[in-house]
Symmetry: C2
Subunit: 237 residues, 2 copies
């Protein structure tokens, strides 16, 4: 079974959450945007049940859009989600909360609109960044650390005893936040040691370590979700 | 089976998407926040698998958070979602796209941060509102109209031949947008007749019509997601 991932080339973006799960699951997949260009992604959106935006995944003749929905679909197929219905709802719930954090992290540099350039909303972005770093980021990280600790003493993963797409997505968010807000994250990392240990654990998985070293892992850059603009990196002390 | 909905009293908010599905499904439910106050909602968040924020639903001993996840859970139980796995993923995909629109509609009046009052970000909100009305709203409404039309000629509902939580959530978004942006929506309604007919069809369902007339339907107000601030209601012509 070959999966086809459709996402814009050149950025990690939301496509990266899908890539990490495909990589960790050892799936055979084609990264259509990177192999055939952005036009191939745009063309594929003209479907009978069209996605609103990339990323979307093709599995046989089924097209699945929305990042959390894609991971909810892939989880059982790649053995990267709980097996019970209750567990799968919990995984989807956490994945959607990660998605909320991703939106807020993105909107730091695009507070007025995704339709305008950063340079058109730079002053507003400075205001947003301060509140994000001071209020929102600690709230989200505190929540995820609490969930991890609530999963039994010394829990290795977010849910039960197995790696899931939730761990992979948390790795991606934490790594992205450290890229975008190194000063803020320095202070926060010390206060969330178990979450940072989880990030390291994911980075050390054989398949993920190999992927992170490979040329197909696109570096973070200032066209993606997580952007390092020094003027927005307010320290959190 | 009695469901317990936990949401802040006083606003429709995200809780309303859950209420509409519970009402349309004829479910027996307790609206805990309205019956017991906000403290009861806050207390219930201190759970073993805690939600990040309301709304969340209790079904037996299971606690389910994140609006789209709750609807994905309720869908099959209340016969308000497709029955095939493929259909359920499509419903979740559309529900998550509605959720994206809800975030953007909310952020029009809170572009800088949800942690600040509207009055602290009113100037920025005016900028956001203009782009939202001109660019984002037509993009989302055009998408949903296209999906509806793609569901076969003269389709009554968004998916297949049956009412689903997607139709109910679209009704809520469209109604909220008309409350918040009456000028903008006047022009857009004319260009999306099938979507507006869908909204009317939902409003006319026996259970929904009864609910909308009942005192338990909280009116829209300026503490919720959809707020009517005349200074943000730019026309779309």
């Amino acid at each position: 079974m070959t999966y086809y991932l459709y996402y814009w080339p050149g950025i990690q973006g939301r496509g990266e959450f899908v890539r990490l799960t495909l990589e960790a699951g050892g799936a055979d997949y084609v990264d259509v945007g990177r192999e055939q260009g952005a036009a191939a992604v745009a063309d594929a959106m003209d479907a009978c049940r069209p996605p609103f935006a990339p990323p979307f995944l093709q599995a046989d003749k089924q097209l699945i859009g929305q990042t959390a929905n894609i991971l909810h679909f892939l989880g059982p197929r790649l053995k990267l989600s709980p097996t019970s219905e209750q567990g799968r709802h919990w995984a989807l719930q956490l994945e959607l909360t990660i998605a909320d954090l991703v939106v807020e992290a993105h909107d730091v540099h695009h507070p007025i609109s995704p339709e305008l350039f950063y340079e058109e909303q730079q002053d507003e972005a400075r205001r947003t960044a301060q509140v994000f770093v001071r209020e929102r980021l600690p709230k989200f990280l505190g929540y995820f650390e609490r969930v991890l600790n609530g999963n039994g003493g010394g829990a290795l993963w977010m849910i039960g005893r197995s790696l899931s797409h939730v761990d992979l997505s948390l790795f991606q968010v934490l790594t992205g936040l450290e890229y975008a807000f190194p000063s803020a994250m320095q202070g926060l990392a010390e206060r969330h040691p178990d979450l940072m240990a989880l990030r390291d654990r994911v980075a050390g998985l054989d398949r993920i370590a190999a992927y992170l070293d490979a040329p197909r892992r696109i570096p973070f850059n200032e066209d993606g979700i997580f952007r390092h603009y020094p003027e927005l990196d307010f320290g959190n002390h």
